[in-house]
Structure formats: C-alpha cells, structure tokens
C-alpha cells in the first residue's frame, strides 16, 4: 500500500499564487554566499583552512621541537599562544594538529563517500546478486551504531591514528552506499532519464550526465553535514587515546593532554577546544545551508 497520490497539478499551481518562479543564482557558491549563515560558516572555514595550511608556512616555530627550558610559557611575543608541557610552541602545534584533525576528517569522508558511491552505483544499476549482497552487508553495518563499530575495529587493530581512520571508514561507508543506491534507483525511473533512454542514449552516458551529478550533489550535502560530526569523532576518539599517539599533535589529543594544566595554563585547553568548536560549527552552518539550497526536501 502506498500513500503517494498521483501528481496533483493544482498543488503545483497553487504554489504560484504565493511564489512566482524567481530567476535564481545558478552558481551554488554564489547562492551560498547570499545565505547569511553559510557566509559565516564559509568565512570561518576559509580562516581555519588558512590557519592549518598557510599557518605552518609563515609561522616560524617547529611544532615538534621541544624546549625543556621553556615549558608552559604563557602567551607572549616569542610564542604567541605560549608553550605546552614540553616547551613546544602551542600555536604551531594547533596548526599541525588542525591539519591532522581537519585533513583526516576530509580524508575519511572522501574515502567513505567514494566507496559508497561506487558500491551504491553498481548495486543500484546492476541489481541482481551484487545488489542483494551489498545491501544485506549495508543493512548489517548500519545495524551497529557507528561509534560501536569504530570501537570494534580499533579494538581489533589497536589504538593508532591510521587504525582509527580505517575504523571510521569501515564503520561509515554503508550509509553512503545505501544513499547512493536509493538515489540511483529513483533516478532510473526519472522522466528525464527515461526520455534520454528512449532517445537512444546509452546507460553509461545517462549515468554520467543525468544520474551522477545528482548523486554527487546529494553526497556533497551529506558529506558537509557529516563533516562536523566526523571532526568530533576523530578528535573525541583521539581524546580518549585511541587515535593519534604522542608526540604527534591532534586537537582532541591536545585537549586531553592539557586537561591538568588547566588551572595553570588554561590556554592549552581552550585553544583546541575553541578550534574544534569552530570547525564543527563552520561545517554545520555550510552543511545546513547547502541542504536548504540544493536539496530543500531532504530533512535527513
């Protein structure tokens, strides 16, 4: 039984009464820029990216070089944000740690979305045994909460940053595969796709010209929406010591390591805390706006 009723012409027509078709900005970036929350998010995001990419180039301190004579120095002219418990420059470490936190979040999301894309696309297009097998696997993977699955994999492979990333990839690809597949299944029935097929365009080209751009748009929205929680996961698990191992810097690990200097050197804790918060909120703002702009119907 289905609750969808046939397309009702008057529903669409009724819309016109309040909103006439407005010529919109075609470029997504321009539309994002006009979205006030997205603008804040984008400015934040660009600043953060500059901080972690350009920062290390222009900031002279080596994040890994300890200076035991200058431990826990307060913020000052030589070390802008002071030094940590080993006398390493905190600002430089925040930059290096940010590269690891943000870079790995993007890397994980990049790999899971491409893995999900490929699997979902093949499953959705081929049907048959591959589809059945892949979807049963997806069902099972999604039956376990992501965090629990990640704990299982890290538990097996042992703590370590690479292991953590592998664990996150293993625990989150399924969602993207399912998303892609369901999109592909819908798109196969789409009227523009049927028209193209009847006109003689082969599946290969239909996929690349009609289906993939839509899938990618959806995935970009979802990836951006999930970026915030991925940053939170990576730093959270590193915070617990399951990710980056010392002496390497990572925001979550730095946060963890600086907890008991808090009364004495609060800047050590506040730095990574603020940066984690800013990254997550930047990703969330952009993600919500992207969803509003590209995909107004999708609520999840």
């Amino acid at each position: 039984m289905s609750f969808t009723r046939p397309f009702n012409p008057l529903d669409a027509a009724a819309e016109i009464e309040t909103a006439l078709p407005v010529v919109k900005h075609r470029k997504v970036t321009a539309r994002l820029w006009r979205h006030s929350q997205a603008r804040i998010g984008m400015i934040l995001g660009i600043l953060l990216l500059c901080f972690v990419i350009i920062g290390p180039i222009i900031y002279p301190h080596d994040p890994a070089k300890p200076d035991y004579g200058n431990k826990l120095a307060p913020p000052g002219s030589q070390h802008i944000l002071g030094t940590d418990q080993s006398g390493r420059d905190q600002l430089a470490r925040l930059m290096e740690g940010g590269m690891r936190s943000l870079g790995s979040a993007l890397l994980v999301l990049g790999s899971v979305s491409s893995a999900g894309l490929v699997i979902g696309l093949i499953a959705g297009m081929s049907g048959g045994w591959f589809d059945a097998l892949a979807m049963r696997l997806v069902d099972v993977m999604m039956a376990l909460p992501g965090m629990v699955m990640a704990i299982a994999v890290v538990g097996v492979l042992g703590p370590g940053f690479i292991n953590l990333l592998v664990a996150l990839v293993i625990s989150s690809w399924a969602y993207y595969a399912r998303l892609t597949r369901s999109y592909v299944l819908t798109a196969r029935q789409r009227q523009d796709v049927i028209s193209a097929r009847l006109a003689g365009i082969g599946w290969g080209r239909v996929i690349f010209t009609h289906i993939l751009p839509g899938v990618l748009t959806q995935l970009i929205v979802i990836v951006t929406l999930n970026l915030g929680s991925m940053i939170a996961w990576i730093s959270g698990l590193s915070f617990l010591g399951l990710g980056v191992q010392p002496p390497k810097a990572e925001w979550g690990a730095m946060l963890s390591g600086s907890r008991f200097y808090f009364t004495f050197a609060p800047w050590l804790l506040l730095g990574p805390a603020i940066l984690i918060f800013l990254s997550v909120i930047s990703a969330n703002l952009i993600g919500n706006a992207l969803r509003d702009i590209l995909d107004p119907k999708a609520n999840e």
């Binding site: 376990l144 909460p145 629990v148 704990i151 097996v156 617990l240 399951l242």
Partner: protein
C-alpha cells in the same frame, strides 16, 4: 465487523513478527561481522587466554590443547557456529586482562551504563520536545531565534568537549558535583546532561522542522478554519504528527547515545561498560571489546526495533491497513 477486527489484529501480529524476524536476521549478520573481525586481532587467542590465566610461558602442548578447546583448528564455518552457540549460551570467552568471563565483567558494569544512557535519553527527549514546542509556538519571534541560536551552538559542541569543559568549570571551579562520580547515583545528573546537550540540540531542530511542517499542513489550516486554537493545533495536530517520524530519529539516536556514553563515562570516571572498553582497547583485550560490541549492538538493534514497532503501532495508516 468482528471478522474485520480480527483481520486487523492478524495484520499487526504479522508486522510485529516481520520486524522481529528482521531484527533476528540483522543480529545474525552483525554477529558474523563481529566474529570475522577476530582473526584481525594480533596474537594467538589461545596464547593470550593462557597468559591471562597466569601461564606466562605456555608450552606448545598447552597452546595446542587450548586451540582445540576453542575450536580454532576447525573449518571456519564450524568455528562460527560454535562461537555463536557459545554466545547464545552466554559464554563470551574470557578477558585477556584477568581471565574472567567477559559477560560477567560487562554485566557488572551494565546497570551503570544503562542508568546513564537512559537518563540521558529521557533528558534529551524532554529537552528537544519542549524546545521544539517553544520554537513552533513562537515561530519567527525572539524565543524561536534565541533557541535556534543556542541549539546551533549546542549542535556544534561535541559531547566530549562539553564534558571536559563542564568538569573544569562546573566541577573544579564551581565545586558542583564530583570529579570521581564513580557510579554514585547522586552524581549522575552532570554526565547525563553533558551527554544530552549535543543531541537535544540536533533533535530539537529536527522536531521543530517537523512541527512547523505539520502546523503548515492543510489539516492544520482546516482545523483553524473549524475554530481550533493555536495550542490545540500544536498539541492535538502538530505534535502527534511530528512525533511519528521523530520516533524513528529517537530509534536511530539510541546508537549514538550508547557510543557517546562511552566517552562521557571515561571523562566522568563513570564505571560503565564504556570506560571499561576503552581500557580494554588500550590493553588489547579483544574478548572484552568483542563482548562490548555484541552487547551494545544487540541493545541498539533491540531498542530501535522496539521503537520501530511502537511507531508502527501508533500510526493508524500502517496499523489499520488500506482502504476498505
């Protein structure tokens, strides 16, 4: 008439049965994956178990006997079936750390985690419903804007961050609560709150969208035209309709709470299975990790199936079948 009602009841039973069957199959599949991860763990399980029992330098013979006992010399499918059989009988193997049965070790800590997670779930649901209702009632007015702003911040602060900051500022600076909550029920509120901030922010935004959709739906317009007040719209029309999809969100969110409570437990020294499993990971104690994954996964699947069945039963469109 009677036969009709009977027919409906059969439908409901069928739906519930289907969901339970689905749950069973999912659990079976999940168990296969968890089992398949085992060989990836470093070291010979037989060796590790012997060492955990205090045999530091086991002889070849001892290792072989243990391997035989664990069924490690059998073909893979037999190993899986035996493993599953032991699991069903409650034999979750022994901890590598102290040689104690994993189920016993986890079972001891389970009530604490359950208390924390369920209180947090209740708080989260309470906060998200009240915030979303306020937002909808004052849509586009200052309370709505304020709550949206706050929930945006809440949704962007990971719970471990909230936990750490709370511990430093609230517990140490203000002296509220204890650093070592250690399962003291009086101290549960702080960790439970920390665990619910992030999720209530997200959920209240979702529910707000659902409520607004229902408030703007045709049936609400018609009800207004029949003379219904705003409050009646909100509670009689919008809330029930928005709650149905929200139940699914809750079902899915239980997984996040189980995972999130693990981190909060570690920060607040709450003695649940979460903080226990992190120690086990560092100690490379795979049986404990595996036991945790089985228990957490099973509780999640069970909880979400229950939520799913509930929402099915609450929705007359599914419960009462199609057009007559």
């Amino acid at each position: 008439m009677n036969s009709n009602q009977h027919y409906e009841r059969v439908e409901i039973v069928k739906i519930i049965f289907q969901r339970l069957l689905q749950m069973f199959l999912t659990l079976l599949g999940a168990s296969l994956i968890i089992w398949a991860l085992l060989p990836l763990a470093p070291g010979d399980p037989a060796m590790r178990i012997l060492q955990s029992l205090g045999v530091t330098e086991p002889t070849q013979h001892e290792v072989e006997t243990k391997r035989e006992e664990l069924g490690l010399n059998q073909p893979y499918h037999m190993q899986y079936i035996q493993w599953l059989g032991r699991l069903v009988q409650g034999d979750f193997s022994e901890s590598y750390q102290n040689g104690k049965p994993v189920l016993e070790e986890l079972g001891r800590r389970l009530p604490d985690t359950f208390r924390l997670a369920s209180l947090s779930l209740v708080l989260t649901i309470f906060f998200s419903i009240s915030l979303a209702l306020i937002c909808t009632a004052f849509h586009n007015q200052w309370p709505d804007h304020l709550i949206l702003f706050l929930t945006q911040i809440g949704a962007s602060t990971p719970s471990f961050l909230i936990g750490v900051l709370t511990l430093q500022f609230v517990v140490v600076k203000l002296g509220v609560g204890k650093v070592l909550s250690q399962g003291d029920v009086k101290m549960i509120l702080l960790p439970a709150l920390c665990l619910s901030v992030n999720r209530s922010s997200n959920w209240s935004q979702l529910l707000r969208a659902g409520l607004l959709e229902a408030v703007n739906a045709k049936y609400s317009l018609v009800a207004t035209a029949r003379g219904a007040r705003k409050l009646r719209l909100l509670f009689k029309y919008a809330l029930p309709n928005a709650m149905l999809p929200f139940l699914t969100v809750i079902g899915l969110g239980i997984g996040g709470i189980i995972g999130g409570s693990a981190i909060i437990e570690a920060i607040f020294t709450w003695p649940g299975i979460g903080s226990f499993v992190f120690k086990a990971i560092t100690a490379r104690d795979y049986p404990v990790v595996q036991g945790f994954v089985i228990i957490a996964g099973a509780s999640y699947v069970l909880a979400s199936t229950l939520v799913d069945i509930t929402s099915t039963l609450l929705d007359p469109r599914i419960r009462e079948g199609g057009q007559l």
